[in-house]
């Protein structure tokens, strides 16, 4: 289907089904139960899943295929956000022009930054992209927000004000981001027994775009172009010796992944029309690296898994507090209960980054292929056990 082989079509269909039914799948606990806080099926979080999924898929095209570790991809996310909000300010709240402009502008920036950074490789490339991203952050945070020329609105963040032109805004349209009149915040709530499922317009728009992005990523992975990028990763020198100039390929990969990041930024603004400079900070770049590595760099589904995993646990872990812990360990004797809460306390709530850091180190040390490799190992382990028992059975027979 769509030029994919059977297996890839299967993966695409599975992802599509997951995205379609996410509001139901992510809401396994009844609304009033104590476990309801672990539900992820509300619009805000689901939108984050798919948007950061797009971001990570794009990053994976660069890092997973070519091995170039960019530490500055958040810059494109921020640039996308700003361009989208500017479209809101100038043209009105329809999301389509905003999304297109965010892809275009971040692509231009990626072309420029990539052209310079890709002259070097390895650690130099990482530091160059880091320097560019920090420069963009500084520009957005303070330089471009002076009264004479206010492009980013500095610390406050760029947002739409009442006196903005909004040329195409008409009275009938909602005063929030919308798709030809369909508000991004429009949510259909359906009550089924004790469960409540929320179907949000913004989420489905993002999910649809994510599916398109995922499909494009599969096509890139399976194309001769993708093969060329893998060759860059495995041995660029040898590739150059054979007379191939690898730079156009890496530059193309860089621009594509920059456009993915810009698209993600644009969508972030589309669901919540506010763009701040903190989106461009280098910790944000680190986060997308985390997602990709955690899920499994160089695999198709890995980055999406990683993005979902990190965003989910970020939300859930930071929500758990001492009271919740006390209620969990209430079955233990008094002293033990306090002790357990005391032990776990640093890792939850505001300490969630500590958990993330430890998890990240463990993954890099023991499981460089991320969650996907973990899954494969477990699968392989089961299979091996299966064959071993068969082999044993086979051996014992002739002895009889």
């Amino acid at each position: 289907m769509f030029g994919l082989d059977k297996r890839d079509t299967g993966v695409l269909i599975i992802v599509a089904l997951l995205a379609l039914f996410a509001p139901i799948i992510l809401n396994p606990f009844p609304t009033d139960s104590a476990m309801a806080q672990f539900n992820a099926g509300y619009p805000d979080l689901m939108q984050k899943f798919v948007i950061f999924g797009i971001f990570a898929i794009g990053f994976n095209i660069l890092f997973g295929l070519t091995g170039y570790l960019s530490f500055g991809h958040a810059a494109f996310l921020g640039i996308g956000s700003y361009s989208c909000v500017w479209m809101f300010k100038l043209l009105g709240y329809n999301v389509i022009p905003g999304i297109f402009l965010s892809i275009l502008i971040s692509g231009l920036f990626a072309l420029l930054i990539g052209f310079v950074s890709l002259r070097r490789s390895g650690i130099y490339f990482s530091i160059l992209t880091l320097a560019f991203a920090q420069m963009c952050f500084a520009l957005a945070y303070s330089v471009l927000s002076n009264p004479r020329f206010n492009l980013t609105n500095g610390e406050t963040g760029l947002q739409v004000y009442a006196n903005d032109p909004q040329w195409f805004h008409r009275d009938g349209l909602p005063d929030l981001p919308h798709l030809f009149g369909l508000s991004m915040r429009a949510t259909q709530k359906i009550q089924v027994g004790a469960w409540e499922f929320q179907f949000n317009a913004g989420y489905y728009l993002c999910a649809l775009i994510m599916l398109v992005c995922f499909y494009l990523a599969i096509r890139i992975f399976r194309s001769p172009f993708g093969m060329m990028l893998r060759a860059v990763k495995s041995n660029q020198q040898r590739m150059n010796y054979t007379g191939l100039n690898s730079r156009p390929y890496t530059l193309a990969a860089f621009v594509i992944s920059g456009m993915y990041a810009g698209l993600a930024g644009g969508l972030l603004s589309a669901v919540d029309p506010l763009a701040g400079a903190e989106r461009m900070q280098w910790t944000a770049s680190g986060e997308v690296v985390l997602m990709t590595i955690l899920g499994g760099a160089g695999t198709l589904i890995g980055p999406v898994l990683g993005a979902g995993f990190i965003k989910y646990f970020e939300n859930i872990f930071s929500k758990i507090n001492d009271n919740v812990l006390h209620s969990w360990f209430a079955f233990l004797p008094d002293g033990m209960e306090d002790f357990m809460v005391f032990i776990i306390h640093p890792f939850i709530g505001k300490g969630w980054h500590l958990t993330l850091g430890i998890l990240f180190m463990l993954v890099v040390i023991y499981l460089p292929g991320g969650l996907v490799e973990g899954g494969q190992r477990i699968q392989g382990w089961f299979r091996k056990r299966g064959t071993k028992t068969e082999a044993k059975a086979g051996k014992t027979e002739p002895a009889e």
Partner: protein, 340 residues
């Protein structure tokens, strides 16, 4: 002229922090070939050694002083630090006052120990892995260290004053017939870093140990074949490098109250400094540190910021990009180090 010198002075103290961190980074990179993203965290740990020492020294007990009354007429509770009760108020007060310089003595062994643990416990296993993995695992370690410090010390900056004697300002230009008033502690910081840098360089140049380390940097395998345990020496150099970063942090506390993310803030700039100076070149790191510090301070003058708003924020990155594109090896980069 006065303004010019003032800007150079301003640049020197920021530059010395860059130079010290970059020196440590280069030492680690040159010896072990590891890109250490956790180096900023070492700087931060050093600063918090000073904070801890100051807190420990000011631990105090309460006594009721019948001679003093509060406004209600009750006897007043007086806090006396243990140190003051042991050594008498004069000496005790002096010890508390000089907590930051005293912290140097504690920081050296602590930081060397931290460096050893880091190298033996984690980084040792990453020599054979690609640079991307090294960056990632040390990045994770930096997050962990930072969060642990945040857990114990909170997220707010902690004021850690310099000793009273060094806390004022001095007219450094008086000797030259000029009028340049400048905080004393910043001058102390500059001289301190010069001493540390000189110590590291002479250690590498004039001792046998240093000679072996330099030989190992040039050709690790041959040194190993000569029957020298080069790994152990490199581990020691890792400890030394983390001590340098820690000392830079200890002395920086009075200039900038430490908070948990100060390491990350400095780390990015220090990497830029290392790259500008040339990966693996110690003099390059020091030179680039001071140069970029001075450049940044000149870019922060009113004249510069009015002609080109915000130039002070981006000048270092612009210079780094320009240097990398015109002299890919950096200002004093060595041939054959990280060429690919």
């Amino acid at each position: 002229m006065d303004a010019l010198l003032l800007q150079i002075l301003n640049g020197l103290d920021k530059g010395s922090a860059y130079a010290l961190i970059a020196l440590g980074l280069t030492l680690i990179f040159g010896t072990l070939g590891v890109v250490n993203f956790a180096h900023g965290a070492l700087f931060m740990i050093g600063a918090f050694v000073a904070v801890t020492l100051q807190r420990v020294l000011s631990l105090s007990f309460e006594t009721i002083d019948p001679t003093q009354k509060d406004f209600l007429g009750n006897p007043l509770k007086v806090k006396t630090p243990y140190v003051e009760s042991w050594f008498g108020p004069e000496t005790g007060g002096l010890i508390i006052d000089w907590a930051v310089p005293l912290a140097i003595l504690f920081a050296i062994p602590i930081m060397i120990a931290v460096g050893f643990i880091m190298e033996r416990g984690l980084i040792k296993y990453f020599y054979k892995r690609p640079h991307a993995d090294q960056i990632l695992v040390t990045f994770g370690l930096a997050i962990v260290l930072q969060e642990v410090v945040k857990y114990f010390y909170g997220a707010n900056p902690i004021q850690t004053p310099a000793p009273d004697a060094l806390n004022g300002v001095a007219n450094v230009g008086a000797a030259f017939g000029m009028d340049i008033v400048y905080p004393v502690w910043r001058i102390v910081y500059f001289f301190f870093s010069v001493i540390i840098i000189a110590a590291i360089f002479s250690f590498l140049r004039f001792t046998t140990f240093g000679m072996v380390v330099r030989a190992g940097m040039a050709d690790r395998e041959t040194v190993g074949l000569l029957g020298i345990n080069i790994d152990r020496r490199f581990t020691i150099m890792f400890g030394v490098a983390s001590a340098v970063a820690g000392l830079a942090g200890v002395m920086y506390t009075p200039i900038n109250p430490p908070n948990y993310h100060m390491g990350m803030d400095f780390l990015v700039l220090s990497f830029v400094v290392v790259v500008v100076g040339g990966m693996g070149s110690l003099p390059g790191a020091v030179l680039a540190g001071f140069l970029l510090g001075i450049l940044e301070s000149f870019a922060s003058t009113t004249w510069a910021t009015t002609t080109l708003p915000g130039i002070n924020q981006i000048i270092i990155y612009l210079v780094a990009i320009a240097v990398l594109l015109t002299r890919p090896r950096g200002l004093m980069g060595l041939k054959g180090v990280m060429e690919d």
